[in-house]
Amino acid sequence: MHVMARDLIYLRTATVFTYFLRRVILMLPVAFGVSVICFMLVQIAPGDPLTAIMPVDATADEQAAMRAIYGLDKPLPVQYAIWIGNLFQGDMGKSIATGRPVADEVFGAVQNSLLLAFSAAVIAFPIGIFLGFLAGYFRDTLLDRAVTAISIAGVSVPNYWLGIVLVIIFSVNLGWLPSMGAGPGGSQDWAWDWLHMRHLVLPAVTLAVVPIGIVARTVRALAGDLLTQDFVTALYAKGMSRGDVLRHVARNAAATALSVMGLQLGYLLGGSILIETVFNWPGSGFLLSNAIFQRDLPLLQGTILVLALFFVAMNLIVDVAQAAIDPRIKRS
Protein backbone atom coordinates (compact mmCIF):
# COMPACT_ATOMS: atom_id res chain seq x y z
CA MET A 1 0.00 0.00 0.00
CA HIS A 2 2.71 2.41 1.05
CA VAL A 3 4.76 1.87 -2.09
CA MET A 4 1.69 2.23 -4.29
CA ALA A 5 0.80 5.61 -2.81
CA ARG A 6 4.35 6.85 -3.37
CA ASP A 7 4.29 5.63 -6.97
CA LEU A 8 1.05 7.47 -7.55
CA ILE A 9 2.52 10.72 -6.26
CA TYR A 10 5.56 10.19 -8.47
CA LEU A 11 3.32 9.58 -11.51
CA ARG A 12 1.31 12.68 -10.75
CA THR A 13 4.41 14.91 -10.48
CA ALA A 14 5.69 13.46 -13.73
CA THR A 15 2.47 14.27 -15.59
CA VAL A 16 2.39 17.79 -14.16
CA PHE A 17 5.96 18.22 -15.36
CA THR A 18 5.21 17.02 -18.90
CA TYR A 19 2.16 19.28 -18.87
CA PHE A 20 4.42 22.15 -17.85
CA LEU A 21 6.85 21.38 -20.69
CA ARG A 22 4.00 21.23 -23.19
CA ARG A 23 2.69 24.59 -22.00
CA VAL A 24 6.16 26.15 -22.26
CA ILE A 25 6.50 24.95 -25.85
CA LEU A 26 3.04 26.29 -26.68
CA MET A 27 4.01 29.58 -25.08
CA LEU A 28 7.04 30.16 -27.31
CA PRO A 29 5.13 31.29 -30.42
CA VAL A 30 3.03 33.60 -28.23
CA ALA A 31 6.18 35.13 -26.75
CA PHE A 32 7.50 35.56 -30.30
CA GLY A 33 4.27 37.29 -31.31
CA VAL A 34 4.47 39.56 -28.28
CA SER A 35 7.98 40.61 -29.26
CA VAL A 36 6.82 41.32 -32.83
CA ILE A 37 3.99 43.53 -31.56
CA CYS A 38 6.36 45.42 -29.27
CA PHE A 39 8.79 45.86 -32.16
CA MET A 40 5.97 47.13 -34.37
CA LEU A 41 4.94 49.74 -31.75
CA VAL A 42 7.93 51.84 -32.74
CA GLN A 43 7.17 51.34 -36.43
CA ILE A 44 3.55 52.53 -36.18
CA ALA A 45 4.58 55.64 -34.24
CA PRO A 46 4.23 58.68 -36.48
CA GLY A 47 7.30 60.72 -37.34
CA ASP A 48 10.90 59.76 -37.93
CA PRO A 49 12.55 58.15 -34.89
CA LEU A 50 15.64 60.21 -35.72
CA THR A 51 14.00 63.60 -35.16
CA ALA A 52 14.26 63.13 -31.41
CA ILE A 53 18.04 62.71 -31.47
CA MET A 54 19.15 64.73 -34.52
CA PRO A 55 19.74 68.46 -34.52
CA VAL A 56 17.21 70.32 -36.65
CA ASP A 57 19.79 71.54 -39.15
CA ALA A 58 21.38 68.12 -39.82
CA THR A 59 22.23 67.54 -43.48
CA ALA A 60 20.93 64.64 -45.51
CA ASP A 61 24.38 62.99 -45.32
CA GLU A 62 24.52 63.27 -41.57
CA GLN A 63 21.02 61.83 -41.33
CA ALA A 64 21.99 58.90 -43.54
CA ALA A 65 25.08 58.27 -41.39
CA MET A 66 22.97 58.31 -38.22
CA ARG A 67 20.45 56.00 -39.87
CA ALA A 68 23.25 53.53 -40.58
CA ILE A 69 24.53 53.72 -36.99
CA TYR A 70 21.10 52.85 -35.59
CA GLY A 71 20.51 50.23 -38.29
CA LEU A 72 17.46 52.09 -39.55
CA ASP A 73 18.62 51.76 -43.17
CA LYS A 74 18.18 47.98 -43.06
CA PRO A 75 14.95 46.16 -43.95
CA LEU A 76 12.47 45.57 -41.12
CA PRO A 77 13.11 41.84 -40.57
CA VAL A 78 16.84 42.55 -40.19
CA GLN A 79 16.09 45.38 -37.76
CA TYR A 80 13.89 42.99 -35.80
CA ALA A 81 16.63 40.34 -35.73
CA ILE A 82 19.16 42.86 -34.41
CA TRP A 83 16.68 44.11 -31.80
CA ILE A 84 15.81 40.63 -30.56
CA GLY A 85 19.50 39.64 -30.55
CA ASN A 86 20.31 42.57 -28.29
CA LEU A 87 17.31 41.72 -26.15
CA PHE A 88 18.69 38.26 -25.40
CA GLN A 89 21.84 39.93 -24.13
CA GLY A 90 19.76 42.06 -21.78
CA ASP A 91 20.16 45.15 -23.94
CA MET A 92 16.85 46.91 -24.49
CA GLY A 93 18.37 50.07 -25.86
CA LYS A 94 18.80 53.44 -24.19
CA SER A 95 16.10 55.80 -23.00
CA ILE A 96 16.01 58.85 -25.29
CA ALA A 97 15.00 61.14 -22.44
CA THR A 98 17.50 60.09 -19.75
CA GLY A 99 20.16 58.22 -21.74
CA ARG A 100 20.09 55.42 -19.16
CA PRO A 101 19.67 51.79 -20.27
CA VAL A 102 15.99 50.92 -20.67
CA ALA A 103 16.46 47.64 -18.77
CA ASP A 104 17.58 49.46 -15.60
CA GLU A 105 14.68 51.90 -15.72
CA VAL A 106 12.10 49.19 -16.39
CA PHE A 107 13.19 46.70 -13.75
CA GLY A 108 13.30 49.32 -11.01
CA ALA A 109 9.80 50.45 -11.90
CA VAL A 110 8.40 46.93 -12.31
CA GLN A 111 9.45 46.11 -8.73
CA ASN A 112 7.31 48.98 -7.47
CA SER A 113 4.42 47.88 -9.68
CA LEU A 114 4.69 44.31 -8.38
CA LEU A 115 4.63 45.61 -4.81
CA LEU A 116 1.43 47.53 -5.58
CA ALA A 117 -0.18 44.66 -7.51
CA PHE A 118 0.55 42.08 -4.80
CA SER A 119 -0.72 44.40 -2.07
CA ALA A 120 -3.93 44.90 -4.01
CA ALA A 121 -4.23 41.12 -4.48
CA VAL A 122 -3.72 40.53 -0.75
CA ILE A 123 -6.61 42.90 -0.06
CA ALA A 124 -8.86 41.79 -2.92
CA PHE A 125 -8.71 37.98 -2.95
CA PRO A 126 -9.76 37.17 0.66
CA ILE A 127 -12.55 39.78 0.53
CA GLY A 128 -13.69 38.59 -2.90
CA ILE A 129 -13.71 34.92 -1.84
CA PHE A 130 -15.52 35.70 1.41
CA LEU A 131 -18.22 37.84 -0.23
CA GLY A 132 -18.66 35.44 -3.14
CA PHE A 133 -18.99 32.46 -0.84
CA LEU A 134 -21.55 34.21 1.35
CA ALA A 135 -23.60 35.13 -1.72
CA GLY A 136 -23.38 31.62 -3.18
CA TYR A 137 -24.25 29.95 0.11
CA PHE A 138 -27.18 32.25 0.89
CA ARG A 139 -28.39 32.37 -2.71
CA ASP A 140 -31.41 34.57 -3.54
CA THR A 141 -31.39 36.25 -0.14
CA LEU A 142 -30.92 39.93 0.62
CA LEU A 143 -27.26 39.19 1.37
CA ASP A 144 -26.81 37.64 -2.07
CA ARG A 145 -28.34 40.67 -3.73
CA ALA A 146 -26.12 43.02 -1.72
CA VAL A 147 -22.98 41.13 -2.75
CA THR A 148 -24.10 41.04 -6.38
CA ALA A 149 -24.65 44.80 -6.26
CA ILE A 150 -21.18 45.30 -4.77
CA SER A 151 -19.55 43.15 -7.43
CA ILE A 152 -21.37 44.87 -10.32
CA ALA A 153 -20.41 48.26 -8.91
CA GLY A 154 -16.85 46.96 -8.52
CA VAL A 155 -16.48 45.92 -12.14
CA SER A 156 -18.23 49.07 -13.41
CA VAL A 157 -16.30 51.70 -11.53
CA PRO A 158 -13.55 53.53 -13.42
CA ASN A 159 -10.85 52.91 -10.83
CA TYR A 160 -8.86 56.04 -11.73
CA TRP A 161 -11.93 58.03 -10.68
CA LEU A 162 -12.36 55.96 -7.51
CA GLY A 163 -8.74 56.80 -6.68
CA ILE A 164 -9.50 60.50 -6.96
CA VAL A 165 -12.60 60.12 -4.78
CA LEU A 166 -10.57 58.29 -2.12
CA VAL A 167 -7.96 61.05 -2.25
CA ILE A 168 -10.71 63.64 -1.78
CA ILE A 169 -12.07 61.76 1.26
CA PHE A 170 -8.93 60.51 2.99
CA SER A 171 -6.33 63.07 1.97
CA VAL A 172 -8.16 66.32 1.29
CA ASN A 173 -11.04 66.15 3.77
CA LEU A 174 -9.75 63.92 6.56
CA GLY A 175 -6.00 64.34 6.02
CA TRP A 176 -5.32 60.76 7.18
CA LEU A 177 -3.29 59.40 4.30
CA PRO A 178 -0.87 60.83 1.73
CA SER A 179 -2.11 61.11 -1.84
CA MET A 180 1.17 60.87 -3.76
CA GLY A 181 4.40 58.95 -4.18
CA ALA A 182 5.75 55.84 -2.49
CA GLY A 183 7.36 57.36 0.55
CA PRO A 184 8.18 60.59 2.36
CA GLY A 185 10.35 63.06 0.43
CA GLY A 186 10.85 61.41 -2.92
CA SER A 187 10.19 57.76 -3.50
CA GLN A 188 13.50 56.02 -4.09
CA ASP A 189 13.89 53.49 -1.31
CA TRP A 190 11.00 51.38 -0.17
CA ALA A 191 10.88 50.20 3.45
CA TRP A 192 8.34 48.14 5.34
CA ASP A 193 7.52 50.78 7.92
CA TRP A 194 4.35 52.79 8.44
CA LEU A 195 6.01 55.92 7.01
CA HIS A 196 6.22 54.18 3.63
CA MET A 197 3.29 51.83 3.92
CA ARG A 198 0.77 54.59 4.46
CA HIS A 199 1.60 55.68 0.90
CA LEU A 200 0.60 52.23 -0.30
CA VAL A 201 -2.86 52.16 1.34
CA LEU A 202 -4.91 54.30 -1.05
CA PRO A 203 -3.47 53.01 -4.36
CA ALA A 204 -3.68 49.38 -3.22
CA VAL A 205 -7.29 49.73 -2.01
CA THR A 206 -8.25 51.50 -5.24
CA LEU A 207 -6.63 48.82 -7.35
CA ALA A 208 -8.31 46.07 -5.31
CA VAL A 209 -11.88 47.11 -6.10
CA VAL A 210 -12.18 45.62 -9.60
CA PRO A 211 -10.73 42.20 -8.65
CA ILE A 212 -12.96 42.09 -5.55
CA GLY A 213 -15.95 42.36 -7.89
CA ILE A 214 -14.66 39.75 -10.33
CA VAL A 215 -13.50 37.23 -7.69
CA ALA A 216 -16.77 37.62 -5.74
CA ARG A 217 -18.78 37.03 -8.90
CA THR A 218 -16.76 33.92 -9.83
CA VAL A 219 -16.81 32.38 -6.36
CA ARG A 220 -20.56 33.07 -6.03
CA ALA A 221 -21.28 31.20 -9.25
CA LEU A 222 -18.94 28.34 -8.30
CA ALA A 223 -20.29 27.94 -4.78
CA GLY A 224 -23.87 28.20 -5.99
CA ASP A 225 -23.35 25.48 -8.62
CA LEU A 226 -21.36 23.11 -6.43
CA LEU A 227 -23.71 23.32 -3.44
CA THR A 228 -26.63 22.01 -5.51
CA GLN A 229 -24.69 19.01 -6.83
CA ASP A 230 -25.48 15.44 -5.87
CA PHE A 231 -22.20 14.77 -4.08
CA VAL A 232 -23.03 17.50 -1.55
CA THR A 233 -26.42 15.95 -0.81
CA ALA A 234 -24.72 12.54 -0.55
CA LEU A 235 -22.14 13.86 1.92
CA TYR A 236 -24.82 15.41 4.11
CA ALA A 237 -26.86 12.19 3.90
CA LYS A 238 -23.80 10.30 5.06
CA GLY A 239 -23.91 12.45 8.19
CA MET A 240 -20.89 14.61 7.46
CA SER A 241 -20.72 17.91 9.32
CA ARG A 242 -21.29 21.17 7.47
CA GLY A 243 -17.66 22.24 7.87
CA ASP A 244 -16.36 19.04 6.30
CA VAL A 245 -18.82 19.26 3.42
CA LEU A 246 -17.72 22.82 2.76
CA ARG A 247 -14.12 21.62 2.66
CA HIS A 248 -15.08 19.24 -0.16
CA VAL A 249 -16.82 22.09 -1.97
CA ALA A 250 -13.79 24.33 -1.53
CA ARG A 251 -11.47 21.70 -3.02
CA ASN A 252 -13.72 21.42 -6.05
CA ALA A 253 -13.83 25.17 -6.49
CA ALA A 254 -10.12 25.73 -5.91
CA ALA A 255 -8.80 25.14 -9.44
CA THR A 256 -11.20 27.51 -11.16
CA ALA A 257 -11.00 30.16 -8.45
CA LEU A 258 -7.21 29.96 -8.58
CA SER A 259 -7.06 30.47 -12.32
CA VAL A 260 -9.34 33.51 -12.13
CA MET A 261 -7.21 34.98 -9.35
CA GLY A 262 -3.99 34.32 -11.23
CA LEU A 263 -5.33 36.09 -14.28
CA GLN A 264 -6.47 38.97 -12.08
CA LEU A 265 -2.99 39.28 -10.65
CA GLY A 266 -1.70 39.67 -14.20
CA TYR A 267 -4.37 42.25 -14.96
CA LEU A 268 -3.46 44.12 -11.77
CA LEU A 269 0.06 44.55 -13.07
CA GLY A 270 -1.16 45.90 -16.40
CA GLY A 271 -4.14 47.74 -14.93
CA SER A 272 -2.10 49.60 -12.37
CA ILE A 273 -0.95 52.04 -15.08
CA LEU A 274 -3.87 54.42 -14.57
CA ILE A 275 -3.77 54.10 -10.78
CA GLU A 276 -0.04 54.78 -10.70
CA THR A 277 -0.68 57.96 -12.66
CA VAL A 278 -3.37 59.07 -10.19
CA PHE A 279 -1.13 58.49 -7.17
CA ASN A 280 2.24 59.30 -8.79
CA TRP A 281 3.35 55.81 -7.76
CA PRO A 282 6.84 55.28 -9.23
CA GLY A 283 6.00 52.05 -11.03
CA SER A 284 5.94 50.82 -14.59
CA GLY A 285 2.73 52.69 -15.41
CA PHE A 286 4.21 55.95 -14.28
CA LEU A 287 7.30 55.19 -16.36
CA LEU A 288 5.09 54.36 -19.31
CA SER A 289 3.14 57.61 -19.18
CA ASN A 290 6.40 59.56 -18.95
CA ALA A 291 7.73 57.61 -21.93
CA ILE A 292 4.59 58.46 -23.90
CA PHE A 293 4.78 62.19 -23.21
CA GLN A 294 8.48 62.47 -23.93
CA ARG A 295 8.01 60.33 -27.08
CA ASP A 296 10.65 58.04 -25.55
CA LEU A 297 9.87 55.07 -27.81
CA PRO A 298 12.61 52.64 -26.66
CA LEU A 299 11.42 53.09 -23.08
CA LEU A 300 7.77 52.62 -24.15
CA GLN A 301 8.68 49.49 -26.08
CA GLY A 302 10.76 48.02 -23.25
CA THR A 303 8.15 48.63 -20.56
CA ILE A 304 5.34 47.11 -22.62
CA LEU A 305 7.49 44.09 -23.49
CA VAL A 306 8.43 43.37 -19.88
CA LEU A 307 4.85 43.77 -18.63
CA ALA A 308 3.43 41.57 -21.41
CA LEU A 309 6.02 38.84 -20.79
CA PHE A 310 5.16 38.96 -17.09
CA PHE A 311 1.53 38.44 -18.03
CA VAL A 312 2.41 35.49 -20.30
CA ALA A 313 4.50 33.92 -17.53
CA MET A 314 1.67 34.47 -15.06
CA ASN A 315 -0.76 32.65 -17.37
CA LEU A 316 1.69 29.77 -17.63
CA ILE A 317 2.03 29.52 -13.84
CA VAL A 318 -1.74 29.61 -13.45
CA ASP A 319 -2.23 26.82 -16.01
CA VAL A 320 0.34 24.57 -14.40
CA ALA A 321 -0.87 25.25 -10.86
CA GLN A 322 -4.40 24.50 -11.97
CA ALA A 323 -3.29 21.20 -13.51
CA ALA A 324 -1.39 20.32 -10.35
CA ILE A 325 -4.50 20.85 -8.24
CA ASP A 326 -7.13 19.43 -10.55
CA PRO A 327 -6.22 16.10 -12.19
CA ARG A 328 -9.15 16.41 -14.63
CA ILE A 329 -7.43 19.22 -16.56
CA LYS A 330 -4.46 17.20 -17.82
CA ARG A 331 -6.71 14.66 -19.46
CA SER A 332 -8.61 17.19 -21.53
Binding site: P29, V30, A31, G33, V34, V36, I37, C38, L41, V42, I44, A45, P46, I152, A153, V155, S156, V157, P158, Y160, W161, L162, I164, V165, V167, I168, V172, N173, A221, G266, Y267, L269, G270, G271, I273, L274, T277, L288, S289, A291, I292, F293, L297, L300, I304, L307, A308, F311, V312, N315
Partner: protein, 295 residues
Protein backbone atom coordinates in the same frame (compact mmCIF):
# COMPACT_ATOMS: atom_id res chain seq x y z
CA UNK B 1 -52.47 13.50 -32.81
CA UNK B 2 -49.96 14.38 -30.14
CA UNK B 3 -49.90 17.96 -31.38
CA UNK B 4 -53.30 18.65 -29.86
CA UNK B 5 -52.20 17.79 -26.33
CA UNK B 6 -51.25 21.22 -25.06
CA UNK B 7 -52.39 20.86 -21.44
CA UNK B 8 -50.12 22.87 -19.20
CA UNK B 9 -48.11 24.07 -22.17
CA UNK B 10 -50.12 27.19 -23.01
CA UNK B 11 -47.33 29.53 -22.06
CA UNK B 12 -44.48 28.09 -24.15
CA UNK B 13 -46.79 27.75 -27.12
CA UNK B 14 -48.01 31.34 -26.94
CA UNK B 15 -44.40 32.51 -26.48
CA UNK B 16 -43.31 30.42 -29.43
CA UNK B 17 -46.17 31.82 -31.47
CA UNK B 18 -44.95 35.34 -30.81
CA UNK B 19 -41.47 34.48 -32.00
CA UNK B 20 -38.15 34.53 -30.19
CA UNK B 21 -37.47 38.27 -30.29
CA UNK B 22 -40.86 39.37 -29.01
CA UNK B 23 -40.40 36.87 -26.18
CA UNK B 24 -37.07 38.53 -25.35
CA UNK B 25 -38.75 41.94 -25.59
CA UNK B 26 -41.56 41.06 -23.20
CA UNK B 27 -39.11 39.57 -20.71
CA UNK B 28 -37.02 42.76 -20.89
CA UNK B 29 -40.02 45.01 -20.26
CA UNK B 30 -40.86 43.05 -17.10
CA UNK B 31 -37.32 43.67 -15.75
CA UNK B 32 -37.36 47.08 -13.98
CA UNK B 33 -33.58 47.38 -13.41
CA UNK B 34 -32.81 46.77 -17.07
CA UNK B 35 -35.48 49.20 -18.20
CA UNK B 36 -34.19 51.95 -15.88
CA UNK B 37 -30.66 51.41 -17.20
CA UNK B 38 -31.91 51.48 -20.76
CA UNK B 39 -33.70 54.74 -19.93
CA UNK B 40 -30.56 56.30 -18.47
CA UNK B 41 -28.45 55.27 -21.47
CA UNK B 42 -31.07 56.60 -23.91
CA UNK B 43 -31.30 59.85 -21.94
CA UNK B 44 -27.51 60.25 -22.07
CA UNK B 45 -27.41 59.55 -25.80
CA UNK B 46 -30.35 61.85 -26.58
CA UNK B 47 -29.02 64.71 -24.46
CA UNK B 48 -25.62 64.32 -26.12
CA UNK B 49 -27.12 64.31 -29.62
CA UNK B 50 -29.47 67.23 -28.99
CA UNK B 51 -27.09 69.18 -26.74
CA UNK B 52 -27.12 72.31 -29.00
CA UNK B 53 -30.91 72.61 -28.63
CA UNK B 54 -31.03 72.36 -24.83
CA UNK B 55 -30.33 76.03 -24.19
CA UNK B 56 -27.02 75.30 -22.45
CA UNK B 57 -24.10 77.66 -21.98
CA UNK B 58 -21.25 77.47 -24.52
CA UNK B 59 -19.03 74.57 -23.38
CA UNK B 60 -15.91 76.16 -24.91
CA UNK B 61 -15.94 79.75 -23.61
CA UNK B 62 -15.19 80.35 -19.97
CA UNK B 63 -14.67 83.37 -17.82
CA UNK B 64 -11.48 83.89 -15.82
CA UNK B 65 -13.36 85.59 -12.97
CA UNK B 66 -15.80 82.71 -12.56
CA UNK B 67 -13.31 79.84 -12.30
CA UNK B 68 -14.18 76.78 -10.17
CA UNK B 69 -17.52 78.12 -8.98
CA UNK B 70 -19.02 75.56 -6.58
CA UNK B 71 -21.99 73.32 -7.36
CA UNK B 72 -25.25 75.27 -7.02
CA UNK B 73 -23.92 78.64 -8.18
CA UNK B 74 -26.49 81.01 -9.70
CA UNK B 75 -26.50 80.44 -13.47
CA UNK B 76 -24.15 77.44 -13.19
CA UNK B 77 -26.11 74.66 -11.49
CA UNK B 78 -23.12 72.30 -11.47
CA UNK B 79 -20.52 75.06 -11.07
CA UNK B 80 -17.68 75.90 -13.45
CA UNK B 81 -14.41 74.21 -14.34
CA UNK B 82 -10.81 75.41 -14.03
CA UNK B 83 -11.29 77.79 -16.97
CA UNK B 84 -14.67 79.10 -15.84
CA UNK B 85 -16.66 77.04 -18.33
CA UNK B 86 -20.13 75.83 -17.36
CA UNK B 87 -19.88 72.28 -15.99
CA UNK B 88 -23.41 71.20 -16.88
CA UNK B 89 -22.88 72.18 -20.51
CA UNK B 90 -19.48 70.48 -20.62
CA UNK B 91 -20.82 67.30 -19.02
CA UNK B 92 -23.70 67.07 -21.50
CA UNK B 93 -21.57 67.99 -24.52
CA UNK B 94 -18.89 65.67 -23.09
CA UNK B 95 -21.29 62.78 -23.54
CA UNK B 96 -20.93 63.14 -27.31
CA UNK B 97 -17.28 62.19 -27.57
CA UNK B 98 -17.22 59.94 -24.51
CA UNK B 99 -20.12 57.79 -25.67
CA UNK B 100 -18.84 57.77 -29.26
CA UNK B 101 -15.32 56.57 -28.41
CA UNK B 102 -16.74 54.38 -25.66
CA UNK B 103 -19.20 52.46 -27.85
CA UNK B 104 -17.89 52.68 -31.43
CA UNK B 105 -14.84 50.41 -30.94
CA UNK B 106 -17.09 47.57 -29.73
CA UNK B 107 -19.38 48.05 -32.74
CA UNK B 108 -16.40 47.96 -35.13
CA UNK B 109 -14.84 45.03 -33.29
CA UNK B 110 -18.19 43.22 -33.40
CA UNK B 111 -18.19 43.34 -37.22
CA UNK B 112 -14.47 42.70 -37.74
CA UNK B 113 -14.00 40.16 -34.94
CA UNK B 114 -17.33 38.51 -35.71
CA UNK B 115 -16.40 38.08 -39.36
CA UNK B 116 -12.92 36.75 -38.53
CA UNK B 117 -14.30 34.33 -35.95
CA UNK B 118 -17.08 33.02 -38.20
CA UNK B 119 -14.65 32.48 -41.09
CA UNK B 120 -12.11 30.78 -38.80
CA UNK B 121 -14.77 28.63 -37.16
CA UNK B 122 -16.47 27.65 -40.39
CA UNK B 123 -13.47 26.99 -42.60
CA UNK B 124 -11.26 25.43 -39.92
CA UNK B 125 -7.90 24.10 -41.10
CA UNK B 126 -5.01 26.46 -41.73
CA UNK B 127 -7.25 29.53 -41.98
CA UNK B 128 -8.41 28.82 -38.45
CA UNK B 129 -4.84 28.27 -37.27
CA UNK B 130 -3.57 31.54 -38.74
CA UNK B 131 -6.43 33.64 -37.37
CA UNK B 132 -6.68 32.05 -33.94
CA UNK B 133 -2.94 31.90 -33.22
CA UNK B 134 -2.67 35.59 -34.12
CA UNK B 135 -5.55 36.29 -31.75
CA UNK B 136 -3.74 34.32 -29.01
CA UNK B 137 -0.83 36.73 -29.19
CA UNK B 138 -3.08 39.69 -28.42
CA UNK B 139 -4.41 37.81 -25.40
CA UNK B 140 -0.90 38.00 -23.98
CA UNK B 141 -1.54 41.67 -23.23
CA UNK B 142 -3.89 42.85 -20.49
CA UNK B 143 -6.46 45.03 -22.32
CA UNK B 144 -5.46 48.25 -20.52
CA UNK B 145 -1.82 47.70 -21.42
CA UNK B 146 -2.56 47.01 -25.09
CA UNK B 147 -4.80 50.08 -25.41
CA UNK B 148 -2.20 52.32 -23.79
CA UNK B 149 0.64 50.79 -25.82
CA UNK B 150 -1.02 51.40 -29.18
CA UNK B 151 -2.46 54.80 -28.26
CA UNK B 152 0.84 55.80 -26.72
CA UNK B 153 2.74 54.90 -29.88
CA UNK B 154 0.21 56.49 -32.25
CA UNK B 155 -0.21 59.63 -30.14
CA UNK B 156 -3.31 61.47 -28.90
CA UNK B 157 -6.36 61.92 -31.08
CA UNK B 158 -9.89 60.63 -31.50
CA UNK B 159 -9.10 58.47 -34.53
CA UNK B 160 -6.06 56.92 -32.82
CA UNK B 161 -8.17 56.05 -29.76
CA UNK B 162 -10.77 54.42 -31.99
CA UNK B 163 -8.09 52.38 -33.76
CA UNK B 164 -6.37 51.22 -30.59
CA UNK B 165 -9.58 50.29 -28.76
CA UNK B 166 -10.95 48.44 -31.80
CA UNK B 167 -7.72 46.42 -31.92
CA UNK B 168 -8.13 45.66 -28.20
CA UNK B 169 -11.67 44.29 -28.61
CA UNK B 170 -11.30 42.33 -31.87
CA UNK B 171 -9.45 39.33 -30.28
CA UNK B 172 -11.99 38.49 -27.53
CA UNK B 173 -14.92 38.80 -29.97
CA UNK B 174 -13.10 36.69 -32.56
CA UNK B 175 -12.49 33.99 -29.98
CA UNK B 176 -16.14 33.83 -28.95
CA UNK B 177 -17.35 33.94 -32.57
CA UNK B 178 -14.98 31.12 -33.50
CA UNK B 179 -16.11 28.95 -30.59
CA UNK B 180 -19.80 29.44 -31.34
CA UNK B 181 -19.35 28.90 -35.08
CA UNK B 182 -17.34 25.71 -34.78
CA UNK B 183 -20.08 24.42 -32.47
CA UNK B 184 -22.74 25.14 -35.09
CA UNK B 185 -20.62 23.88 -37.98
CA UNK B 186 -20.77 20.24 -36.90
CA UNK B 187 -24.59 20.20 -36.82
CA UNK B 188 -26.53 18.11 -39.31
CA UNK B 189 -28.32 20.91 -41.10
CA UNK B 190 -25.01 22.49 -42.09
CA UNK B 191 -23.90 19.16 -43.56
CA UNK B 192 -27.23 18.97 -45.37
CA UNK B 193 -26.78 22.47 -46.80
CA UNK B 194 -23.26 21.63 -47.96
CA UNK B 195 -24.40 18.34 -49.43
CA UNK B 196 -27.02 20.21 -51.44
CA UNK B 197 -24.17 22.03 -53.16
CA UNK B 198 -24.21 25.43 -51.43
CA UNK B 199 -20.81 27.11 -51.29
CA UNK B 200 -19.19 28.31 -48.06
CA UNK B 201 -20.35 31.90 -48.41
CA UNK B 202 -23.97 30.90 -48.94
CA UNK B 203 -23.96 28.46 -46.03
CA UNK B 204 -22.46 31.11 -43.74
CA UNK B 205 -24.90 33.78 -44.91
CA UNK B 206 -28.05 31.67 -44.83
CA UNK B 207 -27.47 29.09 -42.10
CA UNK B 208 -24.60 30.11 -39.84
CA UNK B 209 -24.98 33.84 -39.18
CA UNK B 210 -28.54 33.60 -37.87
CA UNK B 211 -27.47 31.00 -35.34
CA UNK B 212 -24.28 32.57 -34.06
CA UNK B 213 -25.10 36.28 -34.14
CA UNK B 214 -27.03 36.53 -30.89
CA UNK B 215 -24.40 34.93 -28.62
CA UNK B 216 -21.70 37.08 -30.27
CA UNK B 217 -23.91 40.15 -29.85
CA UNK B 218 -24.58 39.42 -26.18
CA UNK B 219 -20.87 38.96 -25.58
CA UNK B 220 -20.10 42.23 -27.38
CA UNK B 221 -22.61 44.16 -25.26
CA UNK B 222 -20.84 42.88 -22.14
CA UNK B 223 -17.66 44.58 -23.40
CA UNK B 224 -19.18 48.06 -23.79
CA UNK B 225 -18.74 48.99 -20.15
CA UNK B 226 -15.03 48.07 -20.16
CA UNK B 227 -14.62 49.96 -23.42
CA UNK B 228 -16.20 53.11 -21.94
CA UNK B 229 -13.87 52.98 -18.95
CA UNK B 230 -10.83 52.36 -21.15
CA UNK B 231 -11.72 55.09 -23.65
CA UNK B 232 -12.20 57.68 -20.91
CA UNK B 233 -9.04 56.32 -19.27
CA UNK B 234 -6.99 57.03 -22.39
CA UNK B 235 -8.24 60.62 -22.38
CA UNK B 236 -7.56 60.79 -18.65
CA UNK B 237 -3.94 59.80 -19.35
CA UNK B 238 -3.73 62.47 -22.06
CA UNK B 239 -3.49 60.06 -25.00
CA UNK B 240 -7.11 60.22 -26.09
CA UNK B 241 -9.21 63.27 -26.88
CA UNK B 242 -7.26 66.53 -27.03
CA UNK B 243 -8.26 69.70 -25.15
CA UNK B 244 -10.33 71.86 -25.33
CA UNK B 245 -12.92 69.27 -26.44
CA UNK B 246 -15.29 68.35 -23.60
CA UNK B 247 -14.79 64.65 -22.77
CA UNK B 248 -15.36 63.09 -19.36
CA UNK B 249 -11.96 61.42 -18.99
CA UNK B 250 -10.11 64.51 -20.13
CA UNK B 251 -12.22 66.73 -17.84
CA UNK B 252 -11.41 64.44 -14.91
CA UNK B 253 -7.73 64.90 -15.75
CA UNK B 254 -7.74 68.69 -16.08
CA UNK B 255 -9.86 69.10 -12.93
CA UNK B 256 -7.40 67.07 -10.85
CA UNK B 257 -5.51 70.27 -10.11
CA UNK B 258 -8.66 71.56 -8.40
CA UNK B 259 -9.22 68.78 -5.87
CA UNK B 260 -7.95 70.95 -3.00
CA UNK B 261 -10.09 73.93 -4.04
CA UNK B 262 -13.37 72.37 -5.07
CA UNK B 263 -13.09 68.60 -4.53
CA UNK B 264 -16.57 67.30 -5.37
CA UNK B 265 -16.83 69.39 -8.51
CA UNK B 266 -13.66 67.75 -9.82
CA UNK B 267 -15.15 64.29 -9.25
CA UNK B 268 -18.27 64.95 -11.37
CA UNK B 269 -16.95 63.81 -14.79
CA UNK B 270 -15.86 60.50 -13.25
CA UNK B 271 -19.30 60.05 -11.75
CA UNK B 272 -20.74 60.32 -15.27
CA UNK B 273 -18.34 57.59 -16.49
CA UNK B 274 -19.32 55.42 -13.52
CA UNK B 275 -23.08 55.85 -14.07
CA UNK B 276 -22.76 55.09 -17.78
CA UNK B 277 -20.60 52.02 -17.33
CA UNK B 278 -22.81 50.73 -14.48
CA UNK B 279 -25.92 51.07 -16.66
CA UNK B 280 -24.18 49.41 -19.61
CA UNK B 281 -23.19 46.48 -17.38
CA UNK B 282 -26.67 46.04 -15.89
CA UNK B 283 -28.27 46.45 -19.31
CA UNK B 284 -26.04 43.78 -20.80
CA UNK B 285 -26.78 41.43 -17.86
CA UNK B 286 -30.49 42.03 -18.39
CA UNK B 287 -30.31 41.37 -22.13
CA UNK B 288 -28.28 38.24 -21.50
CA UNK B 289 -30.79 36.75 -19.09
CA UNK B 290 -33.73 37.80 -21.29
CA UNK B 291 -32.12 36.00 -24.21
CA UNK B 292 -31.35 32.99 -22.00
CA UNK B 293 -27.75 32.87 -23.09
CA UNK B 294 -25.69 30.97 -20.57
CA UNK B 295 -22.23 32.17 -19.56
Amino acid sequence: MALIETHGLEDPISEAGKGYWSGVGSRLIRDPVTMICLGVILLLILSAVFAPYLGLADPYTGSMIKRLAPIGTEGHILGTDEQGRDMLARLIYGGRLTLFIGLMPVVLAFFIGGALGIVAGYLGGWVNTVIMRTVDVFFAFPSVLLAIAISGALGAGILNSLVSLTIVFIPPITRVAEAVTSGVRSLDYIDAARASGANALTVIRVHVIGNVLSPIFVYATSLTSVCMILAAGLSFLGIGVRPPEPEWGLMLNTLRSAIYINPWLSALPGLMIFITSLCLNLLSDGVRSAMNVKD
